[in-house]
Amino acid sequence: MRNTWPGAGGSCLAESITRRSRLLAAVVGLGVLVVGGGCGRAPESTPEGGGKRLTIGVNFETLQTEYWVAGFEAIRSELKKRGIDVVDSIADGDSSRQLQQIRTFITRKVDGIIFVPKDARTCIPAIKAANEAGIPVVLFNRPAAETEGVRSVAIVADNRKLTRETVSFMVEQARQSGRKHKAMVVVGDLGDANAIGRRDGFYDAVKGNEEVVEVVSEVPSEWNQEKARSGVVNGLQAHPDISFIFTSSDFLFPAIVAALKSANKYHKVGTPGHVILGGFDGDATAYQMLEEGYLDATGVQDVYFEAEQSVQAVLDLLAGKEVPALILDPGFVIHQGNLHDLKDRMWGARVMGR
């Protein structure tokens, strides 16, 4: 009994109501216009009949970071490359709006939906609504919480593994310096499975290497630059000898670099006073920092792989094929040593190129 509403009866209701006032009539009239569609025109489907073109709804929670913009453009481009029509919307960080927008896709009778949920929990009603309408749902880069009877496919970076590999590289750099480093980790919104995976990957990598890296500060950013900056500033004041920083997302680098500069700790790799820096995502800022020699390594999410897999998953679901509930993007670690060879696969480098 979800979303029950007697829409088809709207116009009949209007006829039977005595006109107490023009206002009441107007309200009912508007209700008839909106609710009474059951007696009038039916919503249109995709424009062509027969061998009709598919239409896929693409919804992103936000376009606030370069990563999401790159992912959004990659999916649109992949769909267009395959001759599929796209309708899109952005929830602007609002779970309620996102639910409305997914329902709007259903109203438009799209053939499939690819979306980035605001978080693992609040997307469940939207997925349920699509399931009930028989529309396949693919989640890009952020999985939903496991919920009985809710079906979706998620394409996500293997956050834990890729972070572990990135931080392991940083630990190796620390070991080669021949001294012990005090470390800070900047974590994301711990309501986000990606943030948890990256935090866990970080601790996987430093565990057993305490003689080289000692974690003295964990900064909660909640994916917010201002919170990250104040947290890093406070951490550096409490532990001025921090010389190893990992951030769970590259988009926080501007905040971290500002804090390092104000503490006079921002120096190039291989120069005295350099703080070993690592991140996750592979955005344009990270690429620039790598090029300029300030960043040691970052774990790159393969946006183009994820976009291609998302579209393929929708098409496979539409064709009735079996698709695993979770498809992992292995990503890759890019650092000063392999930058030249791998930069063409780094989405941040392509963004810079544009």
Binding site: T4, G7, G37, A42, S95, Q100, R103, R121, I124
Partner: protein, 331 residues
């Protein structure tokens, strides 16, 4: 005056009556639906009506509460943070995963009461600081917002709370139930303001608190109870938001404050107090929901939607300004 003079001069009679009508935003909504229907696929359909209603109802309830506050010349910046805290505390009581009353038959009624109590309690705090401590409403409710937002995140460690009982989820997802709840409280507020002596006191306080006091209106009590009511409406809105998304969320409605204020002001409520109607707020919320929904259906890009929405709201505000000026000139 210039806009009012010009509009007054060349508008045909029927249009002038429409512009001068108390229900201008409703007429605009009707015109908007008629104008957009051919362009927005599925705009006039049953399923889209459900979509709009599901989105609109929680916003409407909190907007009605804010209307009361604006009419007395106040402001309540804390309503969205009250929604967030009520959402997570209610969810903490009810959640079947690790809720305080998980599996208990009374979990849903207790959870609902906790959410309402959080709203009323924080409203009382606002009312006390504004009416008794005489702290400006902007500062009082801003500090409540900051404290409550931080507390909601601290108490959950930023985690969303799922596993809410079906009996609770139904309150937000069964549109019959949600509509009855929202319409009932809206109707009550409308009746209270327009048909009771106490309602007149609200306008008197908003127009001139000192004059109202001299005339025997208990300004302090009216102010206190207005903020309590606003908190209560926020608590009820939290029930609809939380049930609709099946999740207790410390960031619930965080970005809705401007939408809420915008809807109330578009509905004709003055930011300076003394003027406004609950019915106007209903139309304001409806108008914004229609604009938002239709622009998504048209398939415009995010950037375009934001710009068009701003333009449409500005147009509505200009029309309202013109109307006010014509009315002022014609007495």
């Amino acid at each position: 005056m210039a806009i009012g003079m010009r509009v007054d001069g060349w508008l045909p009679g029927w249009l002038k009556r429409g512009v001068l009508s108390d229900h201008l935003i409703l007429w605009l909504s009707v015109a908007y639906v008629l104008g957009m229907a051919p362009w927005a696929t599925g705009f006039v359909s049953v399923s889209n009506a459900q979509t709009i209603l599901a989105y609109l109802l929680p916003v409407l309830v909190v907007s009605v509460g804010l209307t009361l506050v604006l009419i007395i010349g106040g402001i309540d910046l804390s309503v969205t943070s009250i929604i967030a805290l009520a959402s997570v505390l209610g969810a903490k009581v009810m959640s079947g995963e690790d809720g305080w009353m998980a599996g208990n038959a009374l979990a849903v009624p207790v959870g609902v009461l906790v959410m309402l109590a959080v709203g009323l309690g924080l409203g009382a705090v606002n009312g006390f600081t504004v009416a008794v401590c005489r702290i400006p409403a902007f500062i009082a409710t801003l500090t409540t917002m900051m404290f409550v937002s931080g507390f909601a995140i601290w108490v959950t460690l930023s985690r969303k709370i799922g596993g809410l009982p079906a009996g609770f989820v139904m309150l937000g997802q069964n549109l019959w139930v949600a509509t009855v709840m929202a319409v009932a409280v809206t109707w009550l507020a409308h009746g209270f303001l327009s048909r009771t002596l106490y309602g007149r006191w609200f306008y008197a306080v908003g127009q001139n608190a000192r004059a109202a006091l001299v005339s025997g209106v208990p300004v302090g009590r009216v102010t206190f109870w207005t903020y309590v009511a606003s908190g209560g409406f926020a608590g009820l809105s939290a029930i609809l938001f939380t049930a609709g998304l099946e999740t207790g969320n410390p960031e619930m409605a965080r970005d809705n404050l401007l939408d809420v204020v915008g809807a109330v002001v578009i509905g004709g409520t003055s930011l300076y107090g003394g003027r406004g109607r609950v019915l106007g707020t209903v139309f304001g919320v409806l108008f914004l929901a229609l604009v938002d929904n239709s622009l998504n259906l048209v398939g415009l890009t995010f950037y375009t939607i934001t710009m068009v929405k701003g333009g449409v709201i500005l147009g509505a505000a200009l029309l309202d300004t013109a109307r006010t000026r014509i009315l002022a000139r014609t007495g």
